[in-house]
């Protein structure tokens, strides 16, 4: 999802000499097929968040906290949309040559009109800049909403919103710039993150882990029944995530072409393989394959294929999806319980761990010999090191920013509700409503 603003003069230099004078003046092409597909992609990514993610998470909490999850997801998404156009887009893609941020040139979308164009991956083809802004906006909207699963059922509503804004400003925007902007530090190094494995999933997964460690366990964790209140909602939400993820992964191609269809088939296949792998392992280990297991495998597969979907082949996607599911399974069922922290909805265990597996294996399965698109000159070892470097930078950056952001919020408005409020449930105490009556 690289970003290069075009100047007409620069583009003309790259064009082959034309026999006819009139063709030499040809402007970059805006293909209406690309534009249509990208507009649909934007709406699909919105659908991932609202209601997909909201229902997926909502079903996993107790019924007394259902609305708090729906509200946090909704308001975070809206807050990030406004923040994105006011300053987020500029500090991420504002055109600065800094490897760390995009500068202030496009605050309030200064200078952007319906005629402004943004580059795609094909020379000479552009899409409207408004479209690029909106597509990226939907990514900024979902990423902080992913984090809330880690500290679900025990945080103040205002604290969630303040944290999201600080974290997005100092972790999401800079990392998005580093990975996706042509001047970004990791982009320049050649890190492959097609649709946001590091920027979105590892970034959010680490913030989630730090969050549940700073905030602490839910009251009664490990003693009381905290079973999900609706596996039905969770299945609906997970499936909506899968549908919306085609906007996320395939839209990241920025054009409707062969590369887009590669991302599409991979997003299907890796997810199917991951769902099968999780269910099979659970069935073999426990004798019963659960709906939550299938939904978890689905999300793990989607997360893992995100960075890889543009460069691996379908057979590589099967293996990548299955490995990610197996590692996440062991992580959330065994490792987490041993470490005894309360990542309520396994944001780190699935998005963080799945994202790391996906980012590293992208370096492996992009190789032509393993079905990927990279040619004979592809150095797998070197690429894996670049991938790992990207992962480590994201872990450290997001970890530090998150920790400071949580502490700041805790010192100002306080992160956590009191014990009585937590027992009563956040729906009534934070929102004055109940999800279900009778």
């Amino acid at each position: 999802m690289k970003k290069l603003m075009l100047s007409t003069a620069g583009l003309l230099g790259a064009l082959p000499a034309m026999a006819q004078e009139v063709l030499a003046e040809a402007a970059p092409v805006m293909d209406k097929g690309d534009v249509s597909w990208m507009m649909i992609s934007c709406v699909l990514v919105l659908f991932m968040t609202l209601p997909g993610l909201a229902l997926f998470y909502g079903g996993l909490v107790r019924s007394k906290n259902m609305l708090s999850i729906l509200m946090q997801t909704t308001i975070i998404a809206c807050l990030m949309m406004v923040a994105w156009v006011v300053y987020g887009y500029s500090v991420t893609f504002g055109g600065s040559t800094s490897p760390l941020w995009g500068g202030t040139a496009k605050l309030f979308l200064a200078g952007v009109t319906a005629d402004s164009m943004a580059a795609t991956f094909s020379a000479g083809y552009v899409i409207p800049e408004y479209l690029f802004i909106v597509f990226q906006m939907t990514f900024a909207a979902i990423t902080p909403a992913l984090i809330i699963g880690a500290f679900a059922e025990r945080v103040k509503f205002s604290a969630v919103l303040l944290f999201s804004l600080i974290w997005a400003t100092f972790s999401y925007f800079p990392i998005a710039h580093m990975v996706w902007d042509a001047n970004g530090y990791l982009f320049a190094k050649g890190a492959i993150d097609f649709a946001g494995g590091t920027v979105v999933h590892i970034n959010a997964g680490i913030a989630a882990l730090v969050g549940c460690l700073v905030i602490g366990k839910r009251v009664g964790h490990g003693r009381e029944n905290m079973a999900p209140h609706s596996m039905v909602m969770t299945m609906i939400g997970a499936s909506m995530l899968w549908v919306g993820w085609f906007g996320f992964n395939v839209g990241s191609n920025l054009e409707a072409n062969g590369g887009a269809t590669l991302a599409m088939i991979n997003t299907f296949i890796a997810t199917a393989a991951a769902t099968l792998a999780w269910s099979a392992l659970e069935g073999l280990q426990r004798g019963k394959a659960s709906m939550l297991g299938a939904a978890s495998g689905m999300v793990a597969g989607l997360v893992a294929i995100t960075p890889a979907c543009g460069t691996v082949g379908p057979m590589g996607a099967i293996v990548l999806g299955a490995i990610a599911a197996l590692v996440c399974y062991v992580f959330v069922t065994v490792v987490k319980n041993k470490l005894k922290y309360d990542d309520s909805l396994d944001v780190f265990g699935i998005h963080g761990v799945g994202g790391i597996i996906g980012a590293v294996l992208t370096g492996v399965f992009s190789a032509g010999s393993l079905g990927g698109v990279k040619g004979d000159d592809y150095a797998m070892g070197a690429q894996m090191w670049i991938q790992i470097e990207g992962v480590l930078i994201t872990i450290v950056w997001s970890g530090v920013v998150s920790f400071i952001a949580y502490k700041l919020v805790d010192m100002t408005i306080g992160l956590r509700v009191d014990t009585d409020t937590e027992r009563q449930g956040l729906d009534l105490t934070s929102h004055g409503e109940q999800a279900y009556h009778g």
């Binding site: 905290m226 999900p228 939550l292 959330v332 069922t333 065994v334 319980n337 396994d346």
Partner: protein, 112 residues
């Protein structure tokens, strides 16, 4: 008059109702309850988190009949609701002092 209170497996409700209607029972009260007896619940596992569900769902029937019918009702419920496995339920019988039909004011056996 006797009141028979029975806790039975939920899926046995329709069968028990049909059997009781067949022997002349003309009404009953039914509620969904949870409880435990010999059957002490089950375990649910969500991504490795195990929760003991200590109370299992049952249907509670309350049936008031004339003294002469009480034993037949108890036998009928027993035969219909029995699967032979733990969790089939319990039946309790107690005396009822008075019964009254709200619409007509009829009392005792006439009110049943």
């Amino acid at each position: 008059m006797k009141m028979i209170i029975a806790a039975i497996k939920p899926y046995k409700l329709d069968e028990v109702r049909a059997a009781l209607t067949a022997i002349g029972v003309r009404g009953m009260m039914v509620s969904e309850i949870k409880g435990f007896g010999t059957q002490s619940g089950h375990t649910e596992i969500y991504r490795g988190a195990e929760y003991a569900v200590n109370f299992v769902p049952k249907m509670r029937l309350e049936i008031v009949v004339a003294d002469g019918l009480a034993e037949t009702v108890v036998d009928t419920i027993t035969q219909t609701a029995r699967t032979g496995r733990i969790g089939d339920g319990k039946i309790f019988v107690m005396d009822v002092e008075k019964a009254l039909r709200v619409r007509t004011g009829e009392i005792d056996d006439d009110a049943l």
